[in-house]
Symmetry: C2
Subunit: 232 residues, 2 copies
C-alpha cells in the first residue's frame, strides 16, 4: 500500500466488472491483490512503450487509454481505446517479453500492475481462467481482422464512419459523446492524415450526418453512417 491506493477497494471490486476475474476464487484474487501495484496516470502520460520489456499484467480500473503501434515516419496507428474494467495485455508475454505497442492515458487513469509470473501461474493452474483469457485474446484477434479490412479495403469516408461508430458503441456508449481524442488521434484510428480526417468530418457535418462542436460529437443519422461504412 502507498499513498495512491487509499481510494480503491482491491481486486474484489473489479471482480464483478470483468469476466476474466470472475473465474478466480477468493484465494486467487487475494493473491493478485497482494501483488498489485496501483498507479495513477495523468491524461497524456505514457503507460508503457513499444520496444520495452513487458513485465506486467495491466488492468485499467479508471479512465481511458489508447493503445497504438508506432510505425514508420512517426506515424501511429491506434489499435484500440481501452476503458475500465479491462486489462491491457500484449502478445509479447508469451513470445518475446516485449511490448509490441505503446499505451497512453487519454484521460486521467488508474491502472493496477501485477507481475507476469503471478498471472502465468494462474493460467497454468486455473483452466477456466485460461479459457476465459483465450476467449479475450480471440475476440481481440477478431477485432483486429475487422480493423485490417476497414483500413485496407475502405476509402476514407468508410473508415471515419467506422471510427465514429466505434466511439459511439464501444468507447463512450452514448450518442452525443464528448471525446478527449485529438483530430490527430482520429486520424491515427483511421489510418489517414489529420487533414483528411478533418475534411471527411466536415463533409459528414455538411451532409447533416453528424453534429460536431470541438470535441463534442453527435451522430444524427446512424443509418446513413452505417451505409457509408458498408459501401466503403
Amino acid at each position: 500500500m502507498n499513498q495512491y491506493t487509499q481510494y480503491t477497494k482491491g481486486c474484489s471490486a473489479c471482480k464483478d466488472k470483468s469476466e476474466i476475474f470472475n473465474c478466480l476464487c477468493q484465494f486467487e484474487l487475494d493473491q493478485i491483490d497482494e501483488k498489485r501495484i496501483e498507479v495513477h496516470f495523468k491524461a497524456g502520460e505514457l503507460i508503457f512503450k513499444q520496444g520495452t520489456p513487458n513485465l506486467h499484467f495491466l488492468c485499467l480500473t479508471q479512465g481511458k487509454v489508447k493503445t497504438y503501434i508506432e510505425g514508420y515516419n512517426d506515424k501511429n496507428l491506434i489499435l484500440s481505446i481501452v476503458k475500465p474494467v479491462e486489462y491491457i495485455l500484449g502478445p509479447g508475454i508469451y513470445a518475446d517479453q516485449m511490448h509490441h505497442f505503446s499505451a497512453m492515458a487519454i484521460e486521467d487513469s488508474v491502472a493496477c500492475l501485477v507481475d507476469l509470473s503471478t498471472f502465468k501461474s494462474l493460467i497454468r493452474t486455473n483452466a477456466d481462467f485460461a479459457e476465459e483469457f483465450l476467449r479475450k485474446v480471440s475476440l481481440q484477434s477478431i477485432y483486429n481482422y475487422d480493423l485490417i479490412i476497414s483500413l485496407t479495403q475502405k476509402q476514407m469516408p468508410g473508415r471515419i464512419a467506422d471510427v465514429l461508430i466505434y466511439l459511439k458503441d464501444k468507447v463512450y456508449e452514448s450518442n452525443p459523446f464528448h471525446t478527449t481524442l485529438s483530430r490527430q488521434d482520429l486520424a491515427d484510428l483511421s489510418g489517414m492524415s489529420k487533414e483528411s480526417a478533418i475534411r471527411i468530418l466536415r463533409e459528414f457535418k455538411d451532409e447533416g450526418i453528424i453534429q460536431v462542436n470541438g470535441n463534442d460529437f453527435e451522430i444524427l443519422n446512424v443509418d446513413s453512417l452505417m451505409k457509408i461504412s458498408q459501401t466503403g
Copy 2:
C-alpha cells in the same frame, strides 16, 4: 481409417516437426490420433470458408495453404501462407465458433482434422500444451501487427518488398524460389490491385533487384529490397 490414410504414420510422425505436439505425451498423442480425419485437397480447393462453423482443429501435414479474409467488393486479403507441419486455427474456437477467414490449398495438400472438444480438453488438462498454444497465438498476433503496419503505412514498393521477403524467408525458405501463387495472390498479399503488383514487380526487375520468369523468382539484391521495405 479410410482409403486416404494409408500413406501416413499418424501423429507421432508430426510430433518432432511441431513444438506444440512436442508438449503431448504418447497417451495424448494417441487420443488425437484416434480421432483425426485425414483429408487430401487438390490445389485450388477450398478447405474451409469464412462464415461457416469452425468445428475442427486443422493440422497441415503436406502441401501449402493460403488463409485469407474475404472483404468488400470481392477483394481478398491473404493473411498467411501455411506450410507443414503447422496447424490452422482461427480465433473463432474460443469466441463464436465461426471461421473468420477462409483457407484454400495452393498446392496439393494433406490435412488432419480433429474435433475441437478433444483439442480444448487438452488445453484444459495440459498446461504446457496450453502455454505453447498461447505462444503460437501470440506470435501470430505479432505477425498481424507487422502486417497492419506494412499494409497501412507503406507504399506499394515497400509492400511488395515485404511480400517477396516473406516468401523467400518464411514460405519457401530458398532464394531462387518457385511459387504457385498467381499475380492476383501476390496482390492480395500486399493489399493492392493485381495491375499495380505487376507494375512494381516489373520496376524491381528493371532495376535489377529481382529476376522474374513466370512464377520463378530470384531476389538478386536482398539489401536493396530490405531498404525498400524500410523506407516504405
